[in-house]
Amino acid sequence: MQFKTASSPHIAQQNSVQTLMYKVLLAMIPGTIAMIVFFGWGVLINIILASVVALSSEALMLWIRKRPIKTYLFDGSALLTACLLALALPQLAPWWLTVIGTAFAIIVAKHLYGGLGFNPFNPAMVGYVVVIISFPKEMTQWVPPLLDDYTLLSFTETLRIIFANELPLTYGWDAITMATPLDTVKTQLGLELSINEIENHKVYGPMFGSVGGFGWEWVNGLFLASGLFLAIRGIIDWRIPAGVIAALLVLSNTFALYDYASFTPPTFHLFSGGIMLAAFFIATDPVTAATTTKGRWLYGAGIGVFIFIIRTWGAYPDGIAFAVLLMNMAAPLLDYYTMPRAFGHRWTEFPHHHKEHDDE
């Protein structure tokens, strides 16, 4: 009898990339629903549009690169990129903006670098940066969260705006879009208002909600909860979000204590914009993050630091995409210098000691 030969180990492996990706996608559902509730149908339309574009770009690139389409197309990675990008885009962004961002993310940022596992930069964030630099005006088309003064647009109205650029008869752009709380703070601080004055302003005041902006609090709260769930289940590494949050908390607290009139409080930092989505779902993309234990702490903390710097002194209201891309660049270096001490070795044999060693 002839038996099959194989290399050890002989126990079937249980995990798969696909399950990993779909678990992350599932965990995004609660936060996404909150976004749809607060910001309208545009969120859903963006997700669907981005997903269609992402999957077709992925299929096209796999076909061109002669890769097995069936294996890769539904591994969930393209879909995850699409969803992350769609959630980061303004709800009333014109359709072509979503198409350009997503296609660029998949075709250039992912496949031209070698596809899944080989891209040094987070594709969704590359797509986002491309559109925010190229089309700054369209990128401001954020819908105000469900407030008394504003009427939520219907599904067909939203579709018409996105695909035909046709506004409902009674409204102008000013009536249906509004700067985000982060943007407002930045503008008003520029006009020399204090944080206290901005938060109690009769026009802008209500949008700040109780901690991080009306609606945003819920969105961030839900992403935080599902992100924690993923971290506990070991699907994402908890050190990266912990690093992001810790760095942001330390910096914002220090500056707010120093000058509470011109620096937003830590709670606002943590619960406005896309911070929880970024910390738990974007920064944790394993392909582009650092992989060592210490490296992940530093990687997360670096993102937190850059977000704070860009939010406070930069030109953009939220700096998540730039912060993530900057740390993507640093990831290989972090990995090299945070190599764990291998069993039975002394610390002095490791890279951060190489220099001294060479000098000897």
């Binding site: 030969t5 180990p9 995990n15 070795h345």
Partner: protein
């Protein structure tokens, strides 16, 4: 009186695996039937192979040495039963390489007649060195799978000090239960073996480490220790985490010490022996019996009646399977060792060796999903017991960057397969590490070879140069001498012409003159006489 539980530490990573040991531990160890034909590989240990002591046609008795070597790191092999050596030739043996090795073919006579044995009644009356010699003659090797000659291992060497002897009964690989059954049924022999090894290495403590999934083994050993009221042997229950049975991991768990990457356990005062080895040491000394049998777990979904068997070395695997109810109809994979670190065999027409602890037969499984690219998730690094970065190793190994893999400490990898097991991309990581190791070894060998060749070439060149130089020197000297001689002669000639009057020449000339004068006188005289006529 109950002792305080031994303090335990953790090693990094590891896996909690499904044990699957129950199937093979339902009944006691079964003695395998005496086979008609046995195939005994000459080399079943790490080290030098022995030279042959018998030739085809010889009749041998059970326990008679068949091959033995004079080199230090070696172990003899013995006839597992009495009979006739019918052949000594290259035959397939159970080895990962699948290559043929030199084997004795023994046809048993069915009498199973022992050679005269020399048991040691009072081991304490012998010196540790004498006992080591007995262990050595008995061909005892590490039965955990490494098959390193035990006599070498229990010799700490001058200046070395063994504080703790660890008896490894962890048996962390799923499916395997031979050590478990051995501890249950040979508890007294095992403890006796521990005492003997302790005597040989002069260690203070002896810890028998057993995973907490073997309560019966723990109980039976504790009973023996209690009965004999031994105070320096302790059974330590350790958590069931794969690969806690790895030598370095076990030492870490029990002592918190790490074996240096480039060192041995003895460097930190520890010696680890497998439970089976301890029993073999007992048999060698107290019974005088060489290592000719071992306990083998025959198990897996592909075996109808999984069990543990006491098997003579050289028995064919096919016979064990047959005595364990045969194969399941879906059986497709035959593995020697456990599912994590064992290797596959192509055929069951192979003999059991000293290294063979388990025969595992797996059924056809559904096609595993396709291998995906590494997504750097780091799951591998979290389970790696050697604290390596498996995905970086994989990255550099697959791009054949052999300098970088060594920077990432490839050679600290114990190939336990944990990283492989958790990889969501289904990458056969361990295969890459083996490939890289082999490549590096090959390069190293080539380098040594070329270094050797270069040295030889340089030496030859130097020798030729030297010879040429010497020849030239000789020639030059000869020429010089000739030139000197010529010069002297030429000088002499010139000098004679010019000034010096050679006395000889003068004498000759004078004589010649005299003769001429005489002749002239004579002539004138005759002319005178002619005139007068």
């Amino acid at each position: 009186m109950s002792r305080a539980p031994h303090h335990l530490w953790h090693f990094h990573g590891g896996l909690k695996l499904e044990g699957n040991k129950a199937a093979s531990t339902t009944h006691a160890i079964v003695k395998a039937r005496l086979p008609k034909k046995l195939v005994i590989p000459v080399q079943q240990h790490i080290g030098e192979p022995g030279h042959l002591l018998v030739k085809p046609g010889d009749n041998v008795l059970k326990g008679q040495a068949l091959a033995e070597s004079n080199s230090y790191v070696s172990a003899p092999v013995h006839a597992p039963t009495s009979g006739t050596i019918v052949d000594i030739s290259e035959m397939p043996s159970p080895h990962p390489s699948g290559l043929n090795t030199l084997c004795f073919v023994l046809e048993s006579d069915g009498k199973d007649q022992w050679i005269e044995l020399e048991p040691v009644k009072y081991p304490n009356s012998k010196s540790p060195a004498q006992l080591r010699q007995i262990v050595r003659k008995a061909g005892v090797v590490g039965l955990g799978g490494a098959t390193f000659p035990t006599a070498v291992k229990v010799n700490p060497g001058p200046g070395a000090y063994i504080d703790t002897l660890i008896i490894n009964g962890a048996e962390c690989e799923p499916y395997i239960s031979c050590d478990d059954m051995l501890m249950r049924e040979y508890a007294a022999e095992l403890i006796s073996g521990c005492e003997l090894i302790q005597y040989m290495v002069a260690s203070k403590h002896c810890l028998i480490a057993i995973e907490d999934n073997k309560p019966q083994a723990i109980a039976s050993l504790q009973q023996v220790i209690k009965d004999k009221s031994l105070h320096n042997i302790e059974v330590v229950t350790i958590p069931t985490i794969y690969p806690t049975g790895g030598e370095k991991q076990l030492i870490k768990v029990l002592t918190h010490k790490e074996v240096p990457s480039d060192g041995f356990p003895s460097d930190i005062g520890v010696l680890v022996q497998n439970v089976g080895t301890a029993v073999a040491v007992h048999k060698a000394i107290h019974l005088g019996q060489p290592l000719i049998s071992r306990i083998v777990t025959v198990t897996g979904e592909g075996i109808k009646q999984p069990q543990n068997m006491e098997v003579l070395i050289g028995t064919f695997i096919s016979e064990l399977v047959e005595q364990s109810g045969g194969y399941h109809k879906d059986a497709c994979k035959l593995i020697m060792g456990g599912p994590m670190m064992g290797f596959t065999l192509q055929s069951d027409q192979l003999p059991v060796t000293k290294a063979c602890n388990c025969i595992l037969v797996e059924n056809t499984e559904e096609e595993s999903p396709a291998t995906m690219p590494c997504i750097r998730c780091g799951a591998c690094a979290t389970v790696c017991p050697a604290q390596l970065l498996p995905q970086q190793l994989y990255w550099h190994a697959s791009s054949k960057n052999f300098d970088m893999v060594q920077d990432y400490h490839l050679f600290d990898c114990i190939e336990c397969g944990c990283c492989n097991h958790v990889c969501p991309s289904q990458i056969p990581l361990v295969q890459y590490y083996r490939f890289a190791k082999t490549e590096i070894w090959n390069q190293e060998r080539d380098r040594i070879k070329s270094d050797h060749a270069r040295v030889r070439h340089d030496f030859r060149q130097a020798r030729l140069d030297q010879e040429k130089k010497e020849r030239d020197e000789k020639l030059r000297k000869k020429k010089e001498m000739l030139a000197q001689k010529k010069k002297v002669e030429a000088n002499a000639a010139n000098e004679g012409k010019d000034t010096l009057v050679d006395p000889k020449k003068a004498a000759i000339e004078a004589a010649m003159k005299r003769v001429q004068d005489k002749k002239a006188a004579l002539k004138s005289a005759t002319e005178k006489t002619d005139e007068t006529k």
